[in-house]
């Protein structure tokens, strides 16, 4: 009966994962059709399949160009960024043993933002941009980790404050770069980039994002059961036979790489990495074996929907960072409200 119980639970989780995957596929197809040049989902599928399976009504060059050349890179970037941020957020929450942690809270976003502004100031592009974002994103994450370890390993408040301190520091450096940047040329680029957007999406940028995100996400997913054990705390994990220090460094580097790549190509997109893992945990429970894939699938759909809203709500695009914050903050407030009793218990 027990085995049946846990098998039933496993089946339920598998069903939810399949449902989330289906939602992502449907959202992707629908998103490729949404925009000023509307294409029904059925037609989108035919256009996508046309190189192999010629449809009855031939695909026009405009349809091909809109779906494959213009929208596909953007949709791919939104899915990759959303999935990556949620995956990184869920991993960091497990690693820091704290469901209140996200890429923004632990400083990696602001560190990567500084690296990115520096890159724009000096005119570094492509790999230079990603590299600079990664270098400072990882530095910020390590600083927060060291700070929190030295003061108090288990205190949530210390961790969040360490994040505030490091984010504040890199935020000041970003402002300094903005202050020194040429107000005609570089400053507007930096400002719009920081607000977050996929408006400049093209195949090259999509590849620049996919390059680091896909292998790092695959590695995080491969290690996801170990995150369960790391979340028990250092000593317990070591007693269970896990090489804690090495594994933790590996996970920190992988998450920093994903977040930095996202920041480098699309600017600051907050709240996804914090809110989506929470929602996923409500759906599938705490086990990281299920939580990580669920977060990735949910994060991809979430950011894709937000990006659709960003590009179709008004004539001029609304920056993505503004929208994710407007949506994410009330959602997070609602989540805090739901768990208020647990927090009051301490």
């Amino acid at each position: 009966m027990t085995a049946a119980l846990s098998v039933a639970a496993a089946r339920r989780e598998t069903r939810i994962l399949w449902a989330l995957a289906a939602v992502l596929v449907l959202t992707t197809v629908a998103s490729l059709g949404v925009g000023r040049f509307d294409i029904p989902p059925g037609r989108v599928v035919r256009v996508l399949l046309s190189p192999w399976l010629a449809p009855a009504e031939p695909v026009s060059p405009i349809e091909w160009s809109v779906v494959v050349v213009v929208r596909l890179p953007r949709v791919a970037m939104a899915v990759l960024a959303g999935a990556g941020l949620a995956l990184a957020g869920a991993s960091l929450q497990g690693l820091f043993r704290n469901p209140l942690v996200g890429p923004q809270v632990v400083g990696v976003s602001s560190g990567a933002a500084f690296g990115g502004t520096l890159a724009i100031l000096f005119g570094w592009q492509h790999l230079g941009l990603v590299g600079a974002a990664f270098a400072f994103g990882l530095s910020a994450l390590v600083l927060v980790w060291l700070f929190a370890s030295v003061v108090s390993r288990s205190n949530i408040l210390v961790l969040v404050l360490a994040g505030v301190v490091v984010s504040g520091f890199f935020g000041a450096l970003v402002s300094l770069v903005q202050f020194t940047a040429d107000s005609q040329d570089k400053l507007p680029v930096i400002v719009f980039w920081l607000l977050g957007s996929f408006a400049t999406a093209d195949a090259g940028r999509a590849a620049l994002l996919a390059g680091p995100v896909l292998p790092c996400a695959a590695a995080l997913l491969a290690l996801r059961w170990r995150i369960n054990i790391l979340s028990m705390g250092d000593e317990d994990a070591r007693a269970l036979g896990v090489p804690v220090a090495g594994l933790r460094w590996l996970l920190l580097v992988l998450t920093a790489m994903i977040v930095s790549a996202q920041v480098a190509v699309s600017g600051m997109i907050g709240w996804v990495g914090l809110v989506v893992p929470h929602l996923a945990r409500m759906l599938v429970g705490a086990d990281h074996r299920v939580l990580l894939p669920a977060s990735a699938l949910l994060g991809g759909s979430f950011l894709l929907l937000v990006d659709n809203a960003a590009r179709s709500m008004s004539a001029s695009e609304i920056p993505l960072g503004i929208l994710t914050a407007l949506i994410g903050t009330p959602m997070f407030a609602a989540l805090l409200w739901r768990t208020r009793e647990r927090w009051m218990d301490g």
């Binding site: 027990t2 846990s6 043993r97 059961w225 170990r226 369960n228 007693a239 594994l247 705490a286 086990d287």
Partner: protein, 250 residues
């Protein structure tokens, strides 16, 4: 005595190199034996378990374990509400490659461990929703799932009510009878008398190790805790019970 699985030779530990938590510890635990470690708060019982399980290096001497050593920590708050089966599966970490997930054999081993503690029916429930006694049992199951040769328990029965104390102590005996070498720390001389074959008393002037009934004398227990005690032999239910009665001054 059979070849010991756990052997301490002149083991000593100090945090700062001047004040010793414990020193010159010599003891041996064979398969099927339970050793109780007794000592005042702060005398280094928990540190001894950490040294024995390899979490800390001894300052001097050594403690060797032939085979895998599993540690059952004291219950503490977990960050995430894992299910019971997920908690027990963590015990399998040593048997699973770095990039691999627990497989069927691991799930079977975890379910077997839950069956040993009698909580197989709780596998799908949330760990944090269990009672304190059940959580302690699940942490023991997690250690068993590692298929260890030696089991180290840090005050397994301290925070429990009488019924649960008895359940955990019986389980400790069962595990030893299955061939494990067991070391448990305790603040209750009666727990030692109930299940332990040997006792290690961490007295301020030096440790005493020996058969439980010989090592635990009124004088030594009084030296250990600074409280006079009487040892009584009680006959009940056709069995003899030896019991330590503290003469509380409160």
């Amino acid at each position: 005595m059979a070849e010991p699985l756990i052997r301490a030779e002149g083991a000593a530990h100090s945090w700062d190199g001047t004040r010793w938590q414990f020193r010159d510890l010599d003891f041996a635990v064979a398969a099927g034996q339970v050793t109780a470690v007794l000592g005042a708060n702060g005398c280094g019982k928990s540190t001894l378990l950490r040294v024995a399980t390899g979490l800390r290096a001894p300052t001097r001497g050594r403690i060797t374990v032939a085979g895998t050593a599993a540690l059952v920590p004291q219950d503490f708050a977990r960050a995430f509400p894992y299910r019971v089966i997920d908690m027990v599966l963590m015990g399998r970490a040593r048997h699973i490659g770095l990039l691999r997930m627990p497989g069927r054999r691991d799930r079977e081993a975890a379910m077997e461990a839950l069956a040993v503690i009698g909580l197989a029916g709780k596998a799908a429930e949330r760990f944090d929703a269990l009672s304190g006694g059940q959580r302690q049992m699940v942490l023991i199951a997690r250690a068993i799932a590692a298929e260890p040769a030696a089991l180290f328990l840090d005050e397994p029965a301290s925070a429990l009510d009488l019924g649960n104390q008895d359940r955990v102590l019986r389980l400790v005996r069962v595990l030893a009878d299955r061939g494990l070498a067991v070391v448990m720390t305790t603040h209750q001389p009666n727990h030692a008398l109930a299940v332990a074959d040997t006792a290690l008393l961490m007295l301020p002037e030096g440790a005493v190790f020996g058969p439980c009934h010989e090592a635990l004398t009124e004088t030594r227990i009084e030296m250990l805790y600074g409280l006079p005690v009487r040892i009584l032999d009680v006959k009940a239910a056709d069995r003899g019970f030896r019991s330590v009665v503290p003469l509380y001054r409160g």
